[in-house]
């Protein structure tokens, strides 16, 4: 299953807080696509995902101050 989380306009730490909440509802192997525009989250989301053991399958800058990252739940 692929779930999409749009947190445009939210500032840190909320993109990360929402991502954690959202991924806790998913099953192992499910994917979460997070679209965000908080600059600091480019640091915090990948680092949290790596520490929590979720696989980052895709990470790209989609426009001015806008990013998309896809995580596969551990």
């Amino acid at each position: 299953m692929i779930k999409k989380l749009e947190v445009l306009g939210l500032v840190c730490p909320f993109p990360l807080v929402k991502a954690k909440q959202e991924i806790s509802q998913l099953n192992s192997g499910d994917e979460l696509v997070i679209d965000f525009d908080c600059t600091q989250a480019t640091e915090t989301i990948p680092r949290w995902a790596a520490e929590a053991g979720h696989h980052i399958t895709h990470f790209e800058k989609t426009g001015p101050a806008q990013w998309s990252i896809t995580l596969k739940k551990k």
Binding site: G9, V17, D37, T39, T42, A50, K61, A65
Partner: protein, 359 residues
């Protein structure tokens, strides 16, 4: 005057640039110890203090920097620090963080910056300046921790180096096993390094420490004893704008203007500038956070930079009591606006509180 304008702007530009590219954030450093159980940004913050501290006592021995000698206004530092800590979680960034995020185009941060500047001016020079003065007059005569214990500052600097060094070593040991994927690079060479690559927070910490150190001798040339400072020059800027009085323009006024220039340049050149409007709730929090930060920083005689990063580097009571006070403030606010709403998701507006209380 020309030296003041150029060196202030240049230091501010470098500071704003490094903050933006390095995603340096004192709010995150304090808040995430509790919220995310993550010490990475706090260690980066300690690195910045340590680097600055080593340099500062060296420069002071060479007579090119001067250690401040003001008494320690403990009442203001503790209460103001706590209020400032609350404010920076509400607004999503400390004083410096709010400057650089405003320059990234975040409307919430621009709002927080305006209310912060105005409330700092009200507290320092306006209606409430007498109250602020009275709170700040409750003090303890000795400025630094080493004066109280009649020690050489180098003993405390050595302890600081050992503690920071141990924390870095311990963090790096865990981190080495970690692979953090990066985006596919679109740029090359220096362009990639400056405007695209993810900077390790510890590298950012070193750079912030060096810039904070440079502020000391540069501002001393203009006759000001001190390092980086955000709150007083923000209030000065408001006074200048409404009075046209040029005498309030000192070195750190150009520093804070430089932060906007450096952060805007960094964001624009890396394609990270965009006006971003948050939802109403975030806007209201930003507005309130800015006011709390202005009040707190004025009562404490400094913000997360002036007290947290700078006063701590000359081993003052002001710095090392301000840090735990601000940390407690960030934890209290994190509980109120992040942790509690997550545990009780039904409490979203004050109107619904009553129904959820019966559950």
């Amino acid at each position: 005057m020309l030296f003041m304008v150029i060196s202030g702007l240049a230091t501010g530009t470098a500071f704003g640039f490094v903050c933006q590219r390095g995603r340096f954030c004192v709010t995150s450093a304090f808040r995430d110890l509790y919220l995310a159980k993550d010490s990475k940004m706090f260690i980066a913050f300690l690195i910045a203090i340590t680097v600055q501290s080593i340099g500062l006592f060296t420069l002071s021995a060479l007579n090119v920097a001067k250690i401040p000698t003001e008494p320690f206004p403990w009442l203001g530092v503790i209460t103001g620090g706590f209020i400032f800590g609350l404010g920076m979680v509400y607004s999503g960034g400390c004083a410096a963080g709010t400057y650089y995020r405003a320059a990234e185009g975040l409307i919430g941060s621009i709002t927080a910056l305006i209310t912060f500047m105005i409330s700092a001016a009200v507290m320092k020079f306006g209606l409430l300046s007498q109250f602020t003065g009275e709170v700040l007059s409750v003090g303890y005569a000795k400025t630094t921790i080493y004066q109280t214990f009649s020690l050489s500052p180098w003993i405390l600097v050595s302890i600081l180096i050992l503690v920071t060094g141990y924390l870095v070593w311990n963090y790096r040991k865990k981190e080495k096993k970690l692979y953090i994927p990066e985006m596919v690079p679109q740029r090359k060479g220096l362009n990639h390094l400056l405007f695209e690559k993810r900077w390790h927070p510890f590298i950012t910490g070193i750079l912030i420490g060096v810039i904070a150190l440079a502020a000391w001798p540069l501002s001393l040339v203009t006759g000001r004893v001190g390092g980086l400072g955000i709150t007083t020059p923000s209030a000065n800027l408001v006074v200048f704008l409404v009075s046209g009085n040029y005498s309030v323009l000192n070195w750190p006024v150009f520093l804070v203007l430089g932060i906007l220039v450096g952060a805007f340049a960094a964001a624009k050149l890396s394609g990270e500038f965009k006006f971003r409007t948050p939802d109403t709730k975030t806007m209201v929090h930003s507005l309130e956070g800015g006011v709390l930060m202005g009040v707190g920083a004025s009562l404490a005689g400094g913000c997360s930079i002036g007290n947290g990063l700078v006063a701590s580097a000359y081993l003052s009571w002001q710095g090392w009591i301000a840090i735990p006070s601000m940390i407690l403030g960030t934890w209290a606010a994190s509980y109120l606006i992040i942790i509690r709403p997550m545990r009780h998701p039904q409490i979203t507006t004050p109107h619904q509180t009553q129904t959820s209380a019966s559950n």
